[in-house]
């Protein structure tokens, strides 16, 4: 306080001296002292305001280089505070983009980027034995032991085969649990140990003591209630039984790794003389690649033509998902780009409005670099604020994503791992800094080049050519980005529409399937009888052999057929359906020719039209004879039906032949149920009715609608996501066009006033504004459409029934973009039309 007062006194003294010197000067010029004093006061100006200003300055710290950064930031903060709406818009738009990006990246990170949770997980591979070309297994006992003992690419090799569809009983639980038949080494490779009891020893395996079983941790917990007396219990499967000696440890519980979540593990001893194929689980040596492994297998098996399938533990899931994921990430990246272009444009618009302020700063001694630095600092502050906000939103968004991915049947088992971890946060912050610098760079460069004088002159035209150009460039970028987003979402929505509209060849409405289970206590007949008693059930058909894979796990049983009387071509493979005669009726498959067979008629067969044409050409196939390998023999064609899309909505038609059921395999029957009413209620009723003959049937009962829903889930999810991205993109783009157009109109008020004064009609003015917006929109389309085409070619394989070259997509998107442009520019153009020449010229 004391110092302050001293300073004040000194200042007062200094100013007084100044005044007196002034007064002296006037007196010297011959002016009376009183008048001289008055003039001196006049020349000096307000004493009090000078004192005020100096006092104000004292409170401000001196800008040492260390503090300079702080000043820049403070100034930037102040500038943002002065324009709250501008700042909120820029930050809000960026936050939307960054949130989308962060949430998407958290999913990508969890599903694609996170390393496997087991030691050397990325070196663990499974090797398929089957050679699809030669139609045989390539890895026999001999090859296995060669690999096991002498492989140059693998340092650990185990046999590993998972059996599905076999009924097992342990305690009072019976179901078709997957069973792993594996050699002891598999536990070492997968780096798991027993949490309870023990694993079987290599010695036991070598001695052939293979009547033991190890249970998976999750299976033990969930299906057996984690009971501690599980050791010593018996697993019965087929006609063998196995004594439980151990349970895998909790550390092995990684549901995303399918191999590890197998419920039951049984010793699978590989004999040297074992023929036929076997699956292999192996760990590669650290410096080897999968193709090296494949090469070794080729030379070891003496099959140079064979391409062994060497896959990582998560490859299948990652392969299936990665393109969808990168697509979503790319789309969210576009949103960020859009936010950036938008922000850059808003900042440019504002820096034009702020031209005088910036020039002022320059004249205060701020260098061009300093002014530019200030703007970049503003950009950084904005983007960091946006990121902070985006991270808050992301906390919620990531939770939502985890919930959605975990609950929707998208088949993403890593979904529980979706989280805002350090890597995701770092990515968000880094992207914030990059975007902040990126979108403020151009405005900053432009501002640093403001010619001080022109800006300070009142009424000087405030649009400089360079900025106008940049602003147009940003707007074109925005429109182009929106175009790309729209094209992409259009393509996916159209694909979805087409997929849903696909004709399966089966009337799936009011159809229920009850998938095969061997645990029917009452047998198939009992199940059939119960089904028939359910109200609303019209008829039930049985099928064994091949199934419509949408209704449960796809089982592919083929048969090799040829025409007996007109061998036009070599025999070929078709799907072998074994069905009851009412199957066609129940499934809603209409006959093209002939009809189904009568019960008991000898060796009938129904072909689909493709098979019929291939075997018999255009002639009438009815009554012709077909030789088949399974069921072996000669069969008489009784009917022809259309092909059905057995493998799935998006799969090709499969050739098929239908034979009477295989009585020996009736336990495996899929039951197709035709109903009269809504399937959901009836399905629930069926589950209830079947409960006494086999608990837990619910999971094996599918309605046609549900099946389609599940099959199209990924597609619907993606189309939905892309639509949201597209919609957000359109909104941001529209906001950008609106903001730029209205700021241009504001700046050109004088010009517009002059033109109106010279006779331009409001209509002409409005038209001109609209035309300029449409020109820019057109330019954006001209850039966006080729980019969109190029981008969408990259994921052409994800599309269905539509190609990236589809003109209608681009026409539609162009229409939307133009409409959005016009709507966004409508308000500013009307404002332009309402400019009052007199007011604007006086201003």
């Amino acid at each position: 306080m004391f110092v302050r007062r001293t300073e004040d006194r000194e200042l007062a003294e200094e100013l007084e001296a100044h005044l007196e010197m002034l007064q002296d000067e006037y007196v010297r010029r011959g002016i009376a002292p009183a008048e001289a004093r008055r003039r001196a006061r006049l020349t000096f100006g307000s004493l009090s305001s000078t004192t005020e200003s100096v006092r104000d300055l004292r409170g401000v710290p001196v800008p040492t280089p260390l503090r300079a950064m702080g000043f820049v930031l403070r100034d930037a903060y102040g500038a943002l505070r002065r324009a709250p709406w501008h700042s909120a818009t820029v930050a809000g738009v960026l936050a939307v983009g960054i949130t989308a990006g962060t949430v998407t990246f958290s999913v990508v990170d969890a599903v694609l980027l996170r390393p496997l949770p087991i030691r050397d997980g990325d070196r663990i591979v499974t090797i398929g034995s089957f050679d699809a070309q030669a139609r045989k297994g390539r890895i026999n006992g001999e090859v296995f032991w060669q690999l096991h003992d002498h492989s140059s690419t693998l340092d650990a090799v185990a046999s590993f085969m998972t059996m599905h569809g076999q009924s097992s009983t342990i305690g009072d639980v019976t179901d078709e649990f997957p069973i792993a038949h594996t050699s002891r080494d598999a536990f070492n490779i997968l780096d798991v140990s027993a949490g309870l009891g023990r694993l079987w020893t290599p010695e036991e395996e070598a001695r052939g003591e293979t009547d033991v079983a190890v249970l998976g941790y999750r299976f033990w917990q969930r299906d057996l209630g984690g009971r501690p007396d599980v050791l010593g219990m018996t697993v019965r499967t087929g006609d063998r039984s196995f004594r439980v000696i151990g349970v895998l440890s909790a550390a092995s519980d990684h549901p995303e790794i399918r191999a590890l979540s197998t419920p039951i593990w049984l010793p699978g001893v590989v004999r040297r003389d074992q023929t036929g194929g076997m699956g292999i689980l192996a760990r590669m040596r650290s410096d080897r690649t999968r193709s090296m492994v494949a090469d070794e297998l080729r030379s070891l098996t003496g099959a140079p033509e064979w391409t062994p399938v060497v896959t990582g533990l998560l490859d299948e899931e990652r392969d299936r998902l990665s393109r969808w994921m990168w697509l979503a990430l790319g789309a969210s990246g576009l949103l960020v780009l859009l936010g950036c272009a938008n922000a850059a444009n808003l900042m440019l618009s504002r820096s034009i409005r702020r031209a005088r302020e910036l020039a002022l700063r320059a004249s205060l001694g701020a260098s061009g670099r300093r002014v530019a630095g200030g703007i970049v600092a503003e950009g950084l502050l904005l983007s960091l604020a946006a990121t902070a906000f985006a991270l808050l939103l992301s906390v919620w968004g990531v939770d939502l994503a985890r919930h959605v991915f975990s609950t929707l049947p998208l088949g993403i088992s890593q979904a529980p791992g979706i989280a805002l971890n350090g890597r995701v946060m770092a990515a968000a912050v880094v992207s914030a800094i990059l975007t902040g610098v990126f979108f403020s760079l151009v405005p900053a460069l432009q501002a640093s080049r403001v010619p001080v004088v022109t800006s300070l002159k009142d009424g000087a035209p405030s649009t400089s050519g360079g900025r106008g150009r940049w602003r147009r460039a940003f707007l074109v970028t925005e429109v182009a980005t929106v175009t790309v987003l729209l094209v992409v979402s259009w393509l996916f929505v159209a694909s979805l529409v087409r997929v849903v509209g696909v004709d399966l060849g089966v009337d799936r409405s009011r159809l229920i399937s009850v998938a095969p289970r061997m645990s029917y206590r009452g047998g198939v007949d009992e199940v059939l009888a119960r089904l028939h008693r359910v109200p609303g059930v019209v008829d039930v058909a049985e099928s064994t052999g091949a199934m419509i894979s949408l209704f449960g796990s796809g089982v592919w049983v083929t048969t090799n057929v040829s025409s007996l009387d007109a061998p036009v071509e070599p025999p070929f493979d078709v799907l072998q359906y074994r069905v009851t005669p009412n199957y066609f009726d129940v499934a809603g498959i209409a006959f093209l020719r002939g009809s189904t067979w009568m019960d008991g008629s000898p060796n009938p067969v129904v072909l689909d039209d493709v098979v019929a044409r291939r075997l018999f050409g255009e002639g009438d196939p009815i009554g012709r004879q077909v030789r088949a390998t399974r069921p072996d023999g000669v069969h008489k064609v009784v009917g022809v039906v259309p092909s059905i899309r057995a493998k799935g909505l998006e799969q090709d038609l499969q050739m098929a032949a239908y034979f009477p059921p295989d009585q020996r395999r009736r336990g495996f029957s899929t039951l197709l149920v035709r109903t009269t009413g809504p399937t959901d209620a009836i399905a629930a009723h069926i589950a209830e009715t079947l409960e006494p003959v086999g608990p837990g049937h619910k999971n094996y009962i599918h309605t046609g609608d549900e099946v389609i829903r599940r099959a199209t889930m990924m597609r619907r999810f993606n189309a939905g996501l892309m639509s949201v991205f597209g919609l957000v993109g359109v909104l941001i783009g529209a906001a950008g066009i609106y903001a730029v157009t209205s700021s241009v109109v504001t700046q050109q008020t004088n010009e517009i006033g002059v033109r109106m004064a010279l006779g331009a009609s409001p209509r002409q003015i409005a038209q001109q504004v609209l035309t300029s917006v449409l020109t820019l929109t057109g330019a954006g389309l001209a850039v966006g459409v080729p980019v969109a085409w190029w981008v969408s070619r990259g994921f052409g394989s994800l599309l269905f029934g539509i190609t990236p070259a589809d003109i209608s997509v681009y026409a539609g998107v162009s229409g939307i973009v133009c409409a959005v442009g016009v709507i966004a520019a409508l308000l500013p153009s009307r404002r332009a039309a309402r400019v009052d020449p007199i007011v604007s010229l006086r201003a």
Binding site: E14, A17, H18, L47, V54, V60, V62, P451, V452
Partner: protein
């Protein structure tokens, strides 16, 4: 209004530095007079507006101030350009030389008369 004052304040800091460089230590009144003279009355400033600039420059270390006695025996504060101020002036002049208009002309006039 305050904006306009600011403008001249900012420009003033440069003028002040240049004046001090050309004339050596000088008190506020002397600086004000010199600026008015040099600009041939193109600039008419309120002398009061000089002081915030001077205080700021002192804070920034571009000039320093000592109490002394004026020609007509008045106690007055004398300002003197420092080495840092000299450097800043050189840098600023270089930039200002690239601009056209009043500032450039001002600097040019100053240069030719000193």
């Amino acid at each position: 209004m305050s904006e306009k004052t600011d403008v001249w304040q900012g420009t003033l800091s440069l003028m002040v530095l240049k004046t001090l460089q050309a004339m050596g230590p000088q008190h506020g009144y002397g600086i004000a007079q010199r600026i008015e003279q040099t600009s041939d009355d193109l600039l008419s400033i309120n002398h009061g507006t000089l002081y915030p600039v001077l205080v700021r420059l002192v804070q920034e270390g571009a000039i320093d101030a000592t109490w002394g006695v004026s020609e007509n025996n008045r106690r007055a504060k004398f300002y003197r350009i420092t080495r840092r101020g000299q450097k800043r002036l050189d840098a600023a002049l270089q930039e200002w030389n690239q601009t056209t208009g009043i500032i450039a002309r001002f600097v040019a006039l100053k240069g030719s008369s000193s």
